[in-house]
Symmetry: C2
DNA sequence: ACGATAAACGGACTTTACCCCGATTAACAT
DNA sequence: ATGTTAATCGGGGTAAAGTCCGTTTATCGT
């Protein structure tokens, strides 16, 4: 018999705990499902109308596969949003200042807020569909990026005596909350320049926070 | 034939547009349903386990009635939360300072935040269950009180040049967001004194905003 | 009191999210 | 190449949300 203590993990991929690699067909199926989901969203204009059965059938796969990949209906939208966040994230980590590195922390914070607001308005339907009242918490997906990035920038400001972790959570909520919870979809669609208004308010909030 | 231009509205009750009065049996049934819902929540410890069929059966009513009264599953939790908010609201409007009137606006704002945080932690299960990703927006229920009250207090502060409506929305989000979206239920249950920590962060946030 | 009317009731029906488990197939070592 | 293993695939099954419409009942004018 072969020894049982040889390393099973292929040395790569996500940390520990998650299955080391994802089988090739699984990867292929996930991409295919996400692409199909986007098609359906584009055609039917609205996150309703995207049903699990419908998605499975259109993708030519079994219903079980869809659920194993995404766990829940909200999970699909979380995956879609995560996907859209990828290049956004790259702009933040390595793009031009002030969104990217190189500018003073406060300027980056303001720039990040404005970019995030635009992103959330653009993707408001998908973002709202990630919410699921019966699931414990939207978990990872919901702005681990926002929270982490804001936390980092706060650390570079001179805010003595503040609980930076908690402040980061509050600011993340102040950033996403309006689009996620408090402004109706029609508010966000109106040509009133609501985006600029929210952005302006964010800038004002940050400036006051910094005592400037 | 009787003249058709006599007033049909019984001169009272909500503004215009809504049916003037609610029939007696409708009122009775709503109260009964809410009470039954509370019983079920208390017994089964958790907002799951409260099903529309189950509620209807236990209340001895038809399913159609439940849906006409509350529209949706989330609607039940919104009604429950609204109900719980009633006495909270009274403390705010007419209770002792600094939560009630009589204290400086900043003190009231801080006191309101702390009270609201405690309230949201106490009712976190119900509050989260009011969220429904497929519905346009949690609508009225979701903190018209918070937003309005915060807006009012902001008006009493000397924040020149701020968009007070939008700032009120952002602060409402900063207040409810942590419990609603970003802290897991286990975080909120831990005996770590998380409540004080969030409250402290809120106080700090408000003080910085006011430049103090 | 009583009849007309509009609202509320009730439960069967449809749709959809989510579960389960036997069949299938990729990944890897020999 | 090929056998072994473990994960994936697939689709039928369950339960719960939400809809519909015929029936019942409260309300109000006479």
């Amino acid at each position: 018999m072969a020894p049982m203590d040889r390393p099973v993990l292929p040395l790569g991929s996500p940390p520990i705990g998650a299955p080391p690699t994802e089988r090739a067909d699984a990867v292929r199926n996930r991409k295919h499902l996400l692409a199909t989901a986007r098609e359906m969203l584009a055609e039917q204009c609205g996150s309703d109308g995207l049903t699990m059965d419908g998605l499975a059938e259109r993708a030519g796969l079994g219903k079980g596969t869809v659920f194993r990949r995404f766990g829940t209906r909200a999970g699909i939208f979380q995956a879609l949003l995560e996907d859209d966040e990828r290049d956004f994230q790259e702009q933040v980590l390595a793009g031009p200042a002030p969104l990217g590195p190189g500018a003073p922390a406060m300027d980056r914070l303001i720039a990040y807020g404005e970019a995030r607001i635009a992103f959330m308005i653009r993707n408001r339907d998908i973002a709202r569909a990630t919410l699921d009242g019966r699931q414990p918490i939207p978990a990872g997906t919901e702005s681990p990026l926002s929270r982490t990035h804001i936390r980092m920038l706060l650390g570079q400001l001179q805010l003595d005596g503040a609980d930076l972790e908690m402040l980061a959570i509050q600011l993340t909520a102040a950033l996403d909350g309006p689009m996620l919870l408090y402004l109706s979809s029609s508010d966000l669609t109106e040509p009133t320049g609501i985006e600029d208004r929210i952005g302006q308010a964010w800038q004002d909030l940050i400036r006051r926070l910094c005592g400037a």
